[in-house]
Symmetry: C2
Subunit: 138 residues, 2 copies
DNA sequence: ATTAAATAATACCTGAAAGTATTAATTTAT
DNA sequence: ATAAATTAATACTTTCAGGTATTATTTAAT
């Protein structure tokens, strides 16, 4: 839970690419490393490309590299592009925004975990992953 | 996101019942208050009954009341009975448990929000809802 | 020029969660 | 006894995220 399978895929893809920032990677390369279903992976790569995180080079020696600097790519933006952030920001009971003047019965209780979650997404960039020593991607 | 629609329904049902602890409520009562699809609501009530949170009285003047004291019913137990807690406790990348010795690239980053989330679920009971002044349930 | 190896576009399929329908069982009021 | 009002059991349908399949386009090596 927490995030959708597709968001999870997207994060894994971009994390692996971040750990290999220098090298252009093809869908084939990524498939071998990440074992995300091949055709689905390819579609996600096109999506991530359209979203402007990475850029594609077509043709025989094509592949993907980042289109932007790693330290400008926040987790929040990635998840936002895949499934949207609204479900995370809104009221736990029903998907609309938390009304400031009339919070629901659970607002107070969920406030802290929700804030912590969003805070993490909004302050962590792909660059932060490179500093860690962990490389396992599943 | 965060929790499934069914968990959300379950929480709303039990929250409303907690706020009306004294009175026996029928599926009809709950439907009128919560607008959860009627037949689905009825099935969920049977499930919650089987799980031991509430107890049903069948027949003409039947309905539901709590089977246990409110301060013993933790959010974690409710969600656990509906969709399971494992997806929340396990590794963000892949659904198995976080291996202590070999955490994934995102473990460190997700640790805090995950802990905060689980902490909230595991320390909040239905009794805690009654103390609040908020009564909105959607 | 041709072929091979890559990405892109688009339409289709599938499985699981969410929701619906039907029928049975239980209890109380009359 | 009968009918009305409730919960219980079980099977079916719908929806949509996740995954496949097919075909087109682009580029470089030969
Ligand atoms: S109003 Fe429901 S979580 Fe904020
Ligand atoms: S090992 Fe992946 S989140 Fe802990």
């Amino acid at each position: 839970m927490f995030i959708s399978k597709t968001s999870e895929h997207a994060l894994r893809i971009l994390t692996y690419m971040a750990l290999n920032y220098e090298t252009q990677l093809s869908a084939r390369n990524l498939f071998e490393e990440l074992q995300i279903p091949k055709r689905y992976l390819m579609r996600l790569l096109t999506d991530l490309s359209k979203s402007g995180f990475i850029k594609a080079t077509r043709g025989r020696s094509g592949g993907y590299v980042f289109a932007r600097s790693l330290d400008t790519i926040y987790f929040s933006e990635i998840i936002d592009s895949v499934e949207g952030l609204l479900p995370f920001e809104g009221c736990v009971l029903g998907s609309s925004v938390c009304p400031v003047d009339k919070p629901c019965a659970m607002h107070q209780i969920w406030e802290k975990p929700k804030q912590t979650f969003l805070e993490t997404l909004k302050t962590t960039t792909l660059a932060d992953l490179r500093s860690g020593k962990n490389i396992r991607l599943q």
